[in-house]
């Protein structure tokens, strides 16, 4: 488990992990915090924030030097091993230990056990991806799976645990600036022609902008209007004061949401939407690529309407009558254009309780695991490339003025900016705090519950202190769950990964100032 506190953030996924542990599986947890997940681990590697690549490269080097590589797999199914080997050569256990803060022996143990295990999985979450070099971090883990052949086989694999009920489905459906549904390339003429023919409309030949690029374009005045569906950027964006400033300068903004969010308050027009998962029919896709049906259980309140109805009416107002298709009819159109969904009729989705893509035809059971092509003989498709990646520390550097590393994450009972989760009363919910190690508390002379001022290069907020023994000196933790009380994203940095567009929520440099002179 790498950069994932699944015990809290994905509790039912972690039930399955626990079953494995009860059956004798070994678990290593890589996390700056000794999290609720790390407490179940055989070995916890308490990495310094943003040093994942040095750790992964050192593991790779150790596997190579100990002769534990899966040479036959590397030879048959991969390319680029020599360049990778050269790139990790400087990362000896000692060098990596100095950079990551993880004892050399723990790195060695992880390398040996991962490589020797008959089956092994690498699971990760936002601890890997909410960095300015998110994609490189992921590649560093992929390299390890290629070294050992722990990919594309039953019980082995690369497991990014998705954070939202349909973040996978959003990508699958083409809610990406460079892809049509089914991950088909926008800039591929043949593909684009297929969609143009089906939709009866010319389509832009170039990729669009992802969220971070859109904010840049809005900032520069290149993009003047925005249509936001089910997102709350006025609270969820890193460096959120800047984001709000950008949104305020737009000519026109439409927000479609189930609530009057902070973003909706800034809008020119608000479309009240139904809650997709309980008030409309449709599909979502989970972490395991499983497409499942969501079903309408009750009528939406007031004037709230199904997202697709709103979009159909909007099209009508723009002079295009698309009729009144049911959710199933929309899905069937998708199936006709996206080969990986072609075999997933509503009937089959209902009967089978969901199907994992790709599922090319109605006799296909769905794919249990991806990349099995790497094990066929000869391999199906192109070999999997090793990708050498270099260490790049967090961009928001620690300094004398900002000596503490703030990282963010979720708590068990809450979710993102709280739009959904503040709706229910949780007996285990405390007021939002800044969590510090007891050592830092002592050094700063602050007591538990004391309100402190938290200062980053972008913003200043106040929050009460809580001590967490799972944190080491120099590391602080906060969540984005209660932005109305403690607006954590005033502090975070909007440095983002040029390849994925993900902002570096996990690594902010802060200092903590006392407000009162006496400890309460």
């Amino acid at each position: 488990m790498w950069g994932s506190n699944a015990r809290n953030a994905h509790p039912i996924f972690f039930h399955h992990v626990l079953k494995g542990l009860r059956n004798g599986a070994r678990m290593f947890t890589v996390d700056p915090r000794r999290s609720e997940t790390a407490q179940w681990a055989d070995v916890w590697l308490g990495i310094d924030v943003g040093t994942d690549i040095p750790l992964a490269n050192a593991i790779g080097r150790e596997i190579i030097h100990a002769g534990l590589t899966n040479d036959e797999f590397i030879e048959r199914a991969t390319i680029g091993f020599e360049d990778y080997q050269t790139s990790v050569e400087p990362w000896t256990l000692d060098v990596a230990s100095d950079v990551t803060g993880v004892p050399a022996e723990a790195i060695r143990q992880l390398a040996h056990e991962y490589a020797r295990a008959p089956t092994a999985q690498l699971c990760w979450t936002l601890g890997i991806t909410e960095h300015h070099n998110a994609t490189d971090n992921v590649l560093s883990l992929i390299n390890l799976s290629l070294l050992t052949g722990h990919v594309g086989r039953y019980g082995s694999g690369l497991v990014p645990v998705r954070g939202q009920n349909n973040v996978q489905g959003g990508g699958d459906m083409g809610a990406l600036p460079n892809k049509y549904p089914g991950f088909q390339d926008v800039e591929n003429d043949e593909i684009r022609l297929k969609f143009e023919t089906s939709w009866g409309s010319p389509l832009p030949a170039q990729n669009g902008w992802h969220l971070s690029q859109m904010f840049e374009a809005m900032d520069k005045g290149q993009m003047r209007s925005l249509y936001v569906i089910g997102e709350n950027p006025a609270q969820s964006e890193a460096d959120v004061s800047h984001a709000i400033d950008v949104l305020n300068r737009l000519d026109f903004m439409v927000v479609q949401d189930i609530f009057m969010t902070k973003t909706a308050e800034l809008a020119d027009v608000v479309f009240p939407a139904a809650a997709g998962w309980a008030e409309t029919d449709g599909t979502v896709t989970s972490s395991e690529r499983r497409v499942q049906l969501v079903r309408k259980a009750l009528d939406p309140p007031g004037e709230a309407r199904d997202d697709s109805d709103i979009i159909l009416d909007l099209a009508r107002a723009m002079g295009h009558d698309w009729g009144n298709p049911t959710a199933e009819q929309v899905w069937d159109e998708l199936r006709s254009l996206s080969p990986m969904h072609a075999g997933m009729s509503y009937k089959r989705l209902d009967e089978l309780g969901g199907i994992q893509w790709p599922c090319p035809d109605e006799n296909h059971p769905g794919e249990l695991f991806l990349h099995s092509r790497l094990w066929s003989d000869p391999i199906g498709g192109p070999p999997a490339p090793f990708t050498p990646v270099e260490h790049s520390p967090p961009l928001d550097e620690l300094s004398e003025d900002y000596p503490i590393r703030l990282t963010t994450g979720r708590r068990l009972d809450s979710y993102n900016t709280g739009v959904q989760s503040i709706g229910y009363t949780s007996p285990i919910r405390d007021e939002e705090t800044i969590d510090l190690s007891p050592e830092d508390g002592e050094m700063l002379g602050v007591g538990e519950g004391e309100l402190v001022r938290i200062v980053s290069r972008r913003g200043v907020i106040e929050a009460p202190v809580r001590f967490d023994r799972g944190l080491r000196a120099g590391l602080a933790f906060m969540t984005p769950h209660f932005p109305d009380e403690v607006d954590t994203n005033q502090l975070t940095a909007d440095a983002w990964d040029p390849k994925s567009g993900t902002a570096e929520f996990k690594a902010t440099a802060i200092r903590i100032e006392r407000i009162s002179e006496t400890v309460s």
Partner: protein, 316 residues
């Protein structure tokens, strides 16, 4: 060792052996490893269960499912006994009927079984829960928590001892009515190794004083409880209940016949847990998860089980 089809890399299950047993004189062939209860179900023989759960390890606590096995001195619990080739099983012999009757009478006299779904079994076995006398004095709030092992009260012989005590309401999400608790252990197992691994509750005390308890009987918010509600999901008697259901039952507005149950997918993280939304008068009144769903096995987290209220929140 798992074996695979090396062209598709799908798992090949080893061929399962079959065993033949006889149930009430009829031959039934089941897969090796199946329980007597599985065999009974396959044979279409209805069997009462309380402490058994499809997703839990059997604990053999309630004894309501006992059957007679030829050659076995004692009656055996169907839910945990593995079916063996040649077993001759009787599910409706005099011994079985008497035993089930007594179990139901003892439970019924001491515990409120109103929501346990045992009525037709009590009728079938002519179980008279009142035959030990009228119910004794209920315990006061917290009184049973103080019971010490070995300190038994003398029985008066005229009334039936009960576990009745006031409902425990100490948080906004779910309540505990231990007057309905038969000590089946299901909640303990779901909170423990069978699912949640939080270990917030266990059985405290001995004999008739045994009861489900948090550490030192502290209130739930002060305990290790993480409010996943997986204990509610497995409770067979209604001793554990979401506050929404409890409140409506108290007000007399809970109406299961009016409710629809719709299966959908939870709106929070990306694990894909299936939810069953119980809806009455266009309002969600409870969320559960289907036991046969491979992702959840019926279990949820606090957000999935209780975090749906935002869709029917009303502006203050």
């Amino acid at each position: 060792m798992t074996t695979f089809d090396t062209t598709t890399w799908t798992r090949i299950e080893p061929p399962a052996r079959k065993v033949k047993v006889s149930i009430d004189g009829e031959d039934v062939i089941v897969t090796e490893g199946a329980t007597v209860l599985d065999a009974c179900r396959q044979a279409g023989v209805d069997t009462p269960t309380l402490c058994y759960g499809d997703t839990l390890t059997p604990v053999n606590a309630c004894r309501v499912c006992v059957v007679e096995v030829e050659g076995s001195r004692a009656l055996v619990p169907a839910c945990s006994r593995e079916a063996e080739g040649g077993m001759e099983i009787s599910t409706d012999s005099n011994r079985v009927r008497k035993s089930r009757q007594l179990v139901l009478e003892l439970l019924g006299s001491s515990v409120n079984l109103k929501l346990a779904g045992m009525k037709h079994w009590m009728d079938r076995y002519d179980a008279d829960a009142g035959r030990f006398g009228p119910p004794g004095e209920p315990a006061g709030a917290g009184e049973r928590d103080q019971a010490q092992p070995g300190h038994h009260h003398d029985v008066d012989g005229a009334t039936a001892a009960t576990v009745t005590e006031p409902p425990r309401i100490d948080n906004a999400l779910y309540m505990r009515d231990y007057a309905k608790c038969i000590l089946c252990y299901k909640c303990v197992e779901a909170c423990g190794e069978d699912a949640q691994n939080t270990f917030a509750i266990a059985v405290a005390g001995r004999g008739f004083e045994a009861r489900i308890s948090t550490e030192f009987a502290v209130e739930l918010p002060d305990s290790a409880c993480v409010f996943c509600g997986n204990c509610i999901g497995v409770c067979p008697t209604g001793a554990l209940m979401p506050m929404t259901e409890w409140t409506m039952r108290q007000a007399g507005t809970w109406n299961e016949e009016e409710q629809t149950i719709t299966r959908t997918v939870c709106s929070f993280c990306g694990v894909g847990c299936n939810l069953e939304l119980h809806v009455q008068d266009n309002k969600v009144v409870k969320a559960t998860s289907p036991e046969d769903h491979s992702v959840t096995s019926g279990h949820l987290c606090i957000k999935g089980r209780f975090g749906w209220e935002h869709i029917q929140s009303v502006d203050d």
